[in-house]
């Protein structure tokens, strides 16, 4: 299940009109969708919310990817549904709350699915987040596939020594993870030490305000998307006023 989540949220390069947008606009779209999802308090409003999410998702050719993420959140969704029922909220209300949760998940995932880690970095820098923090984030994401590869190699090596990860009760299974986690963590620590040395050798910290090869600049399509997003947002919120009674 963790696989699906990691896979679903991972950015894959695609050339759609959504992907080509400035990441700040993509963020804005997600925020708009998120707020709409948050404000949905009945089924018809939710229908509008989902509809609003599906449009950019379809334009970004990411419906299937989004579907994967949704299937993972399904367990949580069911959990929320049951909890609400238990607390006496009634079937309809519980269903509404559950669907709202899923709409929120979908709207935020859309951003991550359409935005490369590269672009994420630019957005973070634009928000003037501390450089060290942004760098740490970027490097972490960059090394995820590397560590995943380490993990498969470690598992292979330990399985070859007779380690059986899929046998035994829950306690045994947890214990069996030790020969996998320790090498993984140690290797990650050694890597980070080497990374630190490499950073020094590339002048990290030489200057308080490092320059940047690329900067974000809004193009005409970004302004177009911006106006459309704002217009759609406004209309949806107005329609919510109408749909509030249903």
């Amino acid at each position: 299940m963790a696989h699906l989540l990691a896979d679903g949220l991972r950015f894959r390069h695609q050339d759609t009109m959504i992907h080509r947008l400035d990441p700040r606009i993509k963020l804005l779209i997600s925020i708009a969708l998120f707020s709409v999802a948050l404000l949905s308090s009945n089924l018809s409003q939710l229908a509008v919310a989902f509809g609003a999410i599906i449009v950019p998702a379809a334009l970004a050719r990411s419906l299937r990817r989004l579907g994967k993420v949704m299937s993972v959140s399904l367990t949580f969704a069911v959990f929320i549904f049951i909890i609400n029922l238990v607390f006496g909220y009634g079937f309809l209300k519980s269903a509404t709350l559950t669907l709202r949760f899923m709409a929120i998940v979908a709207s935020t995932s859309l951003f991550f699915v359409t935005t490369s880690p590269d672009e994420l970095e630019y957005v973070m820098r634009w928000f003037r987040l501390p450089r060290d923090f942004v760098f740490a984030f970027v490097t972490a994401v960059r090394f995820v596939p590397v560590l995943m590869l380490d993990l498969t190699q470690i598992i292979d090596a330990q399985k070859s020594r007779g380690l059986e990860l899929d046998r035994g009760g829950p306690v045994k299974r947890l214990r069996n993870l030790i020969p996998v986690l320790i090498p993984l963590i140690v290797n990650a620590l050694v890597r980070s030490g080497e990374l630190a040395e490499a950073m020094e050798s590339r002048g990290y910290g030489a200057v308080k305000k490092p320059t940047s090869l690329y900067t974000l600049r809004l193009a005409s399509r970004d302004y177009a998307a911006l106006s459309m997003t704002v217009a759609a947002w406004a209309s949806i919120l107005l329609s919510f006023g109408v749909l509030a009674q249903t």
Partner: protein, 251 residues
Amino acid sequence: MVALDDVSLEVDKGEVLAIVGGNGAGKTTLLKHLNGLLKPTSGSVKVFGKETKEQSVAELSRKIGLVFQNSDHQLFSETAESEVLFGLKNFGFSEADAVRRAGEVFSYFGLDSLRQRAPLTLSGGEKKRLCIAAVMAWNPEVLVLDEPTVGQDYLSKGRILDTIRQLVAAEKTVLVVSHDLEFLWPLDARTVVMMGGKVVADGDSQTVFSDSPLLEGAGLKQPQLVTISKLFGRSPSFRDVSDAANWLSRR
């Protein structure tokens, strides 16, 4: 993209086999089929006459010990001794039996001084030999070494070579995967050359290592002794520098 393409290979008991090729030739992929980490998409892999598809990795590893390239992917225990005990316990040896075998294997490989050391503090060469010892502790019939010399210095390579010879003398079946032909030359092993997922040569080391175009095509470097022997028209090629010096000094 196919990682292995129509590979047919038979290895007899007690044989020493070298599998050579550049990075990406498919050597490691091939090895992983031996203990079931990978199962073939088509064709069959039989170990001791039985299909690997019908056996678990643990079952197969009991008979075929794989030592991977990166020692740091395996070592995790507090002491070298507990590292060796790990595999033994996994394969169901009793406490008493396991401790006895661990002791034997430390002596056999001359690693007694390392017994209580923390594996993570050992040198590269020591780690490698510890990994080999840890696998031999449960006494598999076959030992497979994946690039044992990568990152090792000269002294360490010598010790690894001695270890292999020790095992060959004990009639184990040994497979060594390497791109380091200088290292393999003294072993005089049957050699299989792989390229792009295929086996492109299979013969004795003299024939294979003398085939310069073959080696070059496979991205491998001919051992200098072979090149020198060929230049002086000497066949079979010298296995040892001293032999070469003596022979040449008499010309």
